[in-house]
Amino acid sequence: MSAVDELLSAAPFSLSKDEKSELYAKSLFELTKNSYDNCDYYKRILQILNFYPNVSHKKEDYPFLPVRLFKDFNLLNVPHEEIVKTMTSSGTTGQKVSKIYLDRTTSTNQTKVLAKICSEFLGSQRRPMLIIDSKSALKDRNMFSARGAGIIGFSMVGRGATYALDEEMNLDLDSVNAFLAKYPNEPVLLFGFTSIIWEHFFKALERLDVKLPLDGAVLIHGGGWKKLIDQQVDNETFKKSLISRCGNITVLNYYGMVEQTGSIFMECECGRLHASNYSDVIIRNPDDFSACGVEERGLVQLISLLPESYPGHSILTEDIGELTGEDDCPCGRRGKTFIIHGRIKNTELRGCSDTYEKR
């Protein structure tokens, strides 16, 4: 849609509250109507929700789909033959995975927007890139797992991509050293999944007692905090630990959903996640889904301008978060800022339907 193209010429965190409000009211109307007209499943949901897509609503009143729905149903707005890429969430074996269907326009927009957001933190120069993962994460080119999609997406932002881990997920120190030797005086980009960086990169450096000369590098990482929280590693510890092994580097966490690849939320120098021009966030009170104010905890709803080929422009995640402000971050970037407190807790429901506790 034209909104994305128009925004590409502006800085990615430039829209003020009022500008954004106007843009999103208009875009949500169009995106919702597009999905309603082209996706039968989506249409039935809106009918049950008593939502009329032909009249305009306030931004907060547009419906959202729970992310789990993308696991159980094939949701798409375009004929199957227009799909160029199918993304999947990185579920563990046996778990259902989300399936996200991209046509050419949506896929291209994702790449452009991701690059645009990253350029804000990396500059417009494409840096040499060290991917902290194994090439095997990309094996099936037709099915992009969240990991694979992240690698492919971010590879467009860097150049000369080198993988730091071998096929068995062991640190490939020779490749890393060769990479460093090749770009001795350039600031580089490091990218990887949070838990993989910790498990397979940082821990290996510790074990081998190796320090890497990476001063000036930027490390972008995201996804999979749960494993780290289980090991009592928080964002601060993660940062300090990586700096202790890699020198004076900037560590940036990002938050994003495979359902809305591209429009990621980057953590700024002040430790807040930022909604860019291309996305918005609303925190919802679990009791009635009413919109929460600043510093009120609730369920995280994400809005993205990118999804056109599937009804994923407004989704309800299973994360708990809270807004920290809007257009007032000390870092100077505009847009809403927020922090994530983690996944909703799975509570054991009462009832007598099962007994002999599961093996």
Partner: protein, 420 residues
């Protein structure tokens, strides 16, 4: 020594020592003895024997006096069930002019997510005159601890020596050998569980004369007369909402006896539904602790049903505390539609006979408001329904009793001595 025990010995799992006829596993590190410390003696009583009645009365008093216990409504209702007056009332109504004794040892496999159920199961075994081995869920809960401690202390009293000797509450993991052994010495077994659990436990043989009582997964529904709701004053509608809340939200709607489908009878149904659900939503929003995960589950269910349940025509929502799905017709498979944490299905009929076709053997409890018990029992008998074992007013869906799921537990767990 029978084959099962011999098998165990050969596995080296249970070390068995003989005292005369009694076979006693002396030590199995995998069994935690919460009450008792050995396999109960084979000792039987008459149903409602004086010692058991007195024991339950003492247990009731102990629990009602325990400050830590009173905060749990399920313990309170258990203690209330065990009180002297109630047990004596049950004893009086149990007149079958037969001479009876317990069957022997009853092995109970209790549910993991209803903390207090093991205690009721035990009491039914006791009242029928049996010794009991109760497998308590391995998950810990304060309710389990409180009841176990109360029983443990009481049975040290000399006058309850017989009960002491014939009681064991155990915890163990999935050691099939232990389940096999307990089954092999039980004259009766009570299994609470889904179909899978029941089939699994039944692989372990009871002695030839052993009886199995299986409380499987059931389905329950409610019928409400619209005129009765319209006639109800504010106070009555509040009471009704409270009663309905207890039947459903108290167990997150997962108890087999919690109604899932609400059938409305009569012309005034639209207004009556509004009046009733408003009151329920109001009550639940003040009482129910809606977890974020439940809100997401419920909303996801709503979206999924919009996509794939063609019988759902509309869903009314009261915040996230209450969702009600309107069904345009009742398919025979309606018992597959299950709500959670305040998600109900409703249907309107003019005559109860319209719903007879949906009732299969899965149906357990019919909860009612504004209809008469004779009319409802006639509905079941006249239509020769294969299901519905309980018909109770709204508010009593979860009240477990000696008659449950179509069984008279006291009669089933005792044997008749036929004297002529």
């Amino acid at each position: 020594m029978d084959d099962a025990v011999r098998h165990l010995l050969s596995m080296g799992e249970l070390k068995i020592q003989s005292y005369g006829d009694a076979v006693t596993p002396m030590k199995n590190d995998n069994i935690t003895w919460l009450v008792g410390d050995k396999i109960p003696e084979y000792r039987v009583f008459e149903p409602y024997s004086d010692v058991v009645c007195s024991f339950l009365s003492d247990l009731s008093q102990t629990l009602l006096k325990d400050k830590s216990a009173t905060q749990y409504p399920d313990i309170a209702s258990f203690a209330y069930f065990c009180r002297k007056a109630n047990i004596l009332k049950k004893k009086e109504s149990f007149v079958d002019r037969k001479i009876r004794l317990g069957r022997g040892i009853i092995f109970h496999i209790s549910p993991s997510n209803v903390p207090i159920n093991f205690a009721f199961s035990y009491v039914f075994g006791l009242l029928a005159g049996n010794g009991n081995i109760v497998r308590v869920p391995s998950k810990t809960s304060p309710q389990t601890d409180i009841v176990c401690n109360a029983v443990k202390i009481l049975i040290t009293d000399e006058k309850y020596g017989d009960i002491h000797a014939s009681t064991a509450f155990v915890k163990y993991g999935h050691e099939d050998e232990i389940t096999a052994y307990f089954s092999s010495i039980a004259q009766g077994r009570i299994i609470w569980g889904g179909d899978g659990t029941i089939a699994y436990i039944r692989k372990f043989a009871l002695p030839s004369r052993g009886v199995d009582i299986a409380f499987s997964d059931r389905y329950s529904c409610a019928v409400i007369d619209s005129d009765a709701v319209m006639d109800a004053d504010t106070k009555e509608i509040k009471r009704l909402a409270n009663a309905f809340y207890n039947d459903t939200y108290l167990m997150d709607q997962n108890a087999c006896s919690s109604p899932q489908l609400i059938v409305w009878r009569g012309d005034a149904c639209k207004e009556a539904q509004k009046k009733f659900w408003n009151a329920v939503a109001d009550f639940a929003s003040r009482k129910y602790d809606l977890q974020p995960v439940s809100a997401v589950d419920k909303y996801t269910k709503l979206c999924s049903e919009a996509i794939e349940n063609k019988y759902v025509s509309a869903v009314s929502r009261y915040g996230n505390i209450l969702y009600i799905a309107d069904l345009t017709e009742l398919p025979d498979t309606v018992d597959n539609f299950r709500g959670i944490c305040g998600y109900f299905y409703q249907y309107h009929c003019d005559d109860l006979a319209e719903i007879a076709h949906i009732v299969n053997e899965k149906y357990q409890t019919l909860v009612y408001y504004g209809l008469s018990p004779p009319e409802l029992s006639e509905f079941v008998t006249k239509n020769q329904l294969k299901g519905i074992d309980r018909i109770v007013p709204i508010g009593q869906a979860l009240d477990i009793d000696v008659i449950w799921d179509g069984y008279d537990l006291i009669k089933t767990l005792s044997r008749i001595i036929d004297v002529r």
